[in-house]
């Protein structure tokens, strides 16, 4: 198509009016870039329509300009977020690119946030793994340590003593005279009465020797004395216990 035919085709008017397809727009822009006559014709069409618009201008209200400038004060520096506007005339293909750009922006934001989230999650998981690994090492070291209670229970010289009130068993005390140790499960004891505390005693000869108050850990291994002939549990009125038993609740003979 020669230049004059192109100019007279009606495509330039359609371009200025935003009525072109993307393909037609590219064609017009290429022709305008290559041919000064096309540029001049385009400019003339635009100018005529601009004149027509100016002829139908309507004065906006006086407050409008101030209002726009006030709104701009709230805006970040211009030219920042690319929006829904054309670089030149064009409408229908613009919508397609708007939607495409919007979808791309949403997808990118989603992926970015997801990656960010996953980064956080990753860090948190790494932290938890490190923490668990440390605990595992600590447990492993603990397991490898000799267990004094297990040693006591496995020792052939350890006696099993039933501590009873005559009606039932309060607890079982494991006593090893040569190691001077006893072990028992404090949670096997019945709950003491309110305001009352259990104190443990070794009976040596005819005298009670305090072994301390009821232990709070799961399985207590406490030092005791040689030559205990019996062990007793008393009820005391103070958490610190007393030098002599107040009320003996249960007793179990050694040997």
């Amino acid at each position: 198509m020669d230049i004059q035919s192109f100019i007279q085709s009606g495509l330039l008017e359609a371009y200025v009016l935003g009525q072109c397809s993307a393909e037609e727009r590219t064609q017009v822009e290429r022709m305008a870039a290559d041919h000064v006559e096309v540029r001049a014709e385009l400019s003339s069409i635009e100018a005529s329509l601009e004149g027509y618009a100016a002829a139908h201008a309507v004065q906006p209200p006086d407050w409008m300009k101030t209002s726009i400038l006030e709104r701009l004060e709230q805006e970040p520096p211009g030219n920042s977020p690319p929006e829904e506007l054309p670089p030149g005339p064009g409408k229908a293909p613009l919508r397609f690119f708007q939607i495409l750009a919007f979808l791309l922006a949403v997808t990118c934001s989603f992926l970015f946030l997801r990656q960010k989230d996953m980064g956080h999650e990753n860090n948190e998981l790494r932290f938890r793994t490190d923490s668990l690994q440390q605990k595992l090492v600590a447990c492993s070291q603990e397991v490898q340590k000799p267990d004094p209670i297990a040693e006591l229970l496995c020792d052939p010289g350890t006696q099993r003593i039933l501590v009873s009130d005559g009606k039932g068993i309060y607890t079982i005390i494991y006593y090893n005279a040569s190691q001077k140790k006893i072990a028992y499960d404090p949670y096997s004891l019945p709950s003491p009465k309110p305001g009352s505390y259990y104190q443990f005693w070794a009976i040596v000869g005819d005298k009670p020797v305090s072994l301390g108050m009821q232990a709070s850990n799961m399985c207590a291994s406490i030092h005791t004395v040689e030559n205990a002939i019996a062990f007793a549990i008393s009820a005391e009125g103070t958490p610190e216990g007393n030098p002599a038993p107040t009320t003996v609740l249960a007793i179990g003979k050694a040997g």
Partner: protein, 187 residues
């Protein structure tokens, strides 16, 4: 009216200021084109309050997108008009607009207080363009002002699409001829 070369120089200065993120450029842009754009927007939305909102949005969008304006692809006013027209058309598609579609008459929109035709210079231009045949004016109004596609304009007027295209070209040529004849060339 500003003559062609001066207008283009003014436009170039405005573009430079806009792209240098000078907020006062929007004020100058408004002074130059606010009235013409408001006239277009009023014709599309046909509700004064909504048109005022659309016009404000138009200039805010122009500010946000100044960097994307490419002078090789069209005049500054054409770019602004596209923003205004698209913003106005979007506004007419909102649910709120559809529900409250009580349009004001064009006369009351254009001639209500604060809405007079813009200035004596433009009244002169108005008289000139009024010489354009009514059928051409209607076509330009539909397509240029109201954003109808040529197909929609054909449907609206009941005129075949081929005739619409021919008439449109003829109408713009006539318009150009009128401006040249009156020494009001814009280019």
């Amino acid at each position: 009216m500003v003559e062609g070369d001066t207008q283009l120089m003014q436009d170039q200065q405005l573009i430079n200021r806009l792209q240098a993120q000078d907020r006062t450029a929007i004020g100058a842009l408004y002074d130059t084109y606010g009235g013409a754009l408001f006239g277009v927007v009023l014709r599309i939305v046909q509700q004064r309050e909504l048109a005022e909102q659309v016009l404000q949005d138009t200039f805010v969008k122009a500010w946000r997108n100044g960097a994307r304006y490419d002078a090789t692809k069209g005049r500054l006013f054409t770019w602004l008009l596209n923003i205004a027209r698209n913003t106005a058309i979007d506004a007419t598609r909102t649910t709120h607009f559809q529900k409250s579609r009580k349009t004001d008459s064009l006369d009351s929109l254009v001639y209500s207080p604060g809405g007079e035709s813009i200035n004596p210079d433009q009244i002169g231009v108005r008289e000139v363009v009024d010489r354009l045949d009514e059928k051409y004016k209607k076509l330009i109004d539909l397509i240029y002002f109201q954003g109808y596609t040529q197909e929609e304009a054909a449907e609206e007027t009941g005129i075949p699409l081929g005739t619409i295209k021919t008439r449109l070209r003829y109408a713009i040529n006539e318009l150009r001829g009128i401006f040249v004849e009156k020494g009001m060339a814009f280019n």
